[in-house]
Symmetry: none
Subunit: 275 residues, 2 copies
DNA sequence: TTATTATTGGAATATATTTTCTAAATTAAG
DNA sequence: CTTAATTTAGAAAATATATTCCAATAATAA
């Protein structure tokens, strides 16, 4: 008699053994299937009250299904709650941890990055707010010239955006710091333009400073960054937050790239309509 | 001083007051934003351990944001977990898809690209042959200097590779055609080096020609391209084939980017072992 | 520097939660 | 209807968890 380790297995067990259960245990089984959230989050006594049973019945219930106590069964309900939620980060973290010590054959590495990339994309769907996306597109559409700023590993994103915006006949300047002219390139920004900055922790100081200065001049700033603590988020008019996944100590760019692509296409639509 | 009652409000508060917090409280704020699930489900001491702080700090943290204790704050994290869970989210999404079809089109675009990106990544797993991947890594590992060549929308990939290879202390030259010196940059290639070319149809003629010439000189050429008809595939020692998915007339770069990342990490392992 | 204030760590305490145990109630069998 | 077996309720005990408190440490101002 081994206890179910997943929510699905437990559900099946609850259903199939329902008939052979005693009256009170039946009652609890029904409550559990109806209110899995309560089972996951509430205390024994709270659940007991809501299900109109004694607390001790819940312990008997858990033991009847092979658990050592109620708490152990509750873990199963809790894990379900997490897996169902918008949290791909967890899965990815465990992925990263496991795979580091395993074989480093390159095809295994590829598998990890593919899994990580898929998770990051799924997560992107959950965390990007449509409103912010609209706002961003709006600001970019209205801008006379779009300035793009990114350094290091974010630079390829800006580089791609420069290419794509040019194809949309949207004027843009890629601040690439070529020839050490980072500030010089940025200086030509003026009212009516907009800045799109991309940076992740640890945030490139050039980009952060540029964002602050630009905002200070009253020029709209939109950014792509991670989390609310990002200095870009704090000093931008709109910030699109991306959670990139780290596998093998290297951060993927799939999600950010996909977001960039989306911006381009959405901007293309917006420009079509206004013209 | 009234405590935030929703997860979003709490998130905002955590971000905006982050600067004024003491060292330990900052640390906790960062952990909380990174691991909302832990905050929702784990016990004070478990969280304390994972965040490397004292349990009492967590209580002080909660009180600093106006709660009577940690448990009260935890409720906010828990409610978020429930709201995000199971069918609630699905309902909202499908609702949004139908009703707001015209007004905020950009989130629909995002959805499409995410689906496309996931499809491309899944496909990548099937089409990339481990042998070719190994061969590619092998060639790059043996090269004295790796030359990177890509144009237009593939350029960001090469740009990223240049960044990443530099981090591996692998010498590389990004042939970016800056100052119209495409051929000049390429001319310095010699025996012992290798060329990594990236191009998709319609193939940039510069890159194709460079591949042919380089091969002619007896310098190994590896490439990332699409399908067997690619001139890169025909004139390379090894070609990794990627099928990117086209959505809204724009090709994604997720799969290619993921492949590039994989190359970098696999190359890193290879270099570690040989040194 | 020294005095003052704020912050922190960690043991001690209070609270809450789970689990056990037993007498009472219910059910099933003869 | 009686008896044995099961199940249940509820209080008591054990455990886990949250919170408080204060000495030690670090930060800040004089």
């Amino acid at each position: 008699m081994t206890a179910p380790r997943t929510y699905e297995a437990l559900r099946d067990e609850l259903a199939s053994r329902h008939d052979e259960l005693s009256k009170r245990l039946k009652q609890i089984a029904e409550y559990a299937l109806d209110n899995p959230n309560d089972m996951a989050l509430e205390t024994v006594s709270a659940i007991a009250e809501r299900a109109a049973v004694q607390p001790s019945s819940l312990i008997r219930f858990a033991k009847a299904f092979g658990y050592t106590g109620f708490s152990e069964m509750q873990k199963v309900f809790r894990s379900h709650l997490v897996e169902n939620g918008s949290n791909y980060k967890e899965r990815i973290r465990s992925l990263g941890r496991d795979s580091v010590h395993q074989s480093n054959a390159s095809s295994i590495v590829l598998d990890d990055f593919i899994d990580g990339g898929i998770a990051a994309l799924s997560n992107l769907r959950d965390v990007i707010s449509p409103e912010r996306l609209e706002q961003t597109v709006d600001i970019l559409a209205k801008a006379d010239v779009v300035y793009l700023s990114a350094q290091r590993r974010s630079f390829p994103i800006a580089s791609y955006l420069a290419y794509a915006l040019a194809h949309l006949d949207k004027r843009c300047v890629l601040i690439d710091g070529n020839g050490g002219m980072f500030l010089e390139q940025a200086r030509s920004m003026r009212k009516g333009d907009a800045l799109l900055a991309i940076s992740f922790k640890s945030y490139a100081s050039d980009v952060v400073q540029l964002v602050k200065e630009t905002r200070g001049k009253g020029i709209p700033v939109v950014s792509i960054s991670d989390g609310v603590l990002s200095p870009l988020a704090q000093h931008s008019d709109v910030c699109l937050e991306v959670e990139e996944v780290e596998v093998h100590a290297f951060r993927s760019l799939s999600a950010t790239m996909t977001l960039a692509l989306t911006l381009v296409v959405a901007l293309g639509h917006a420009l079509d309509q206004s013209s």
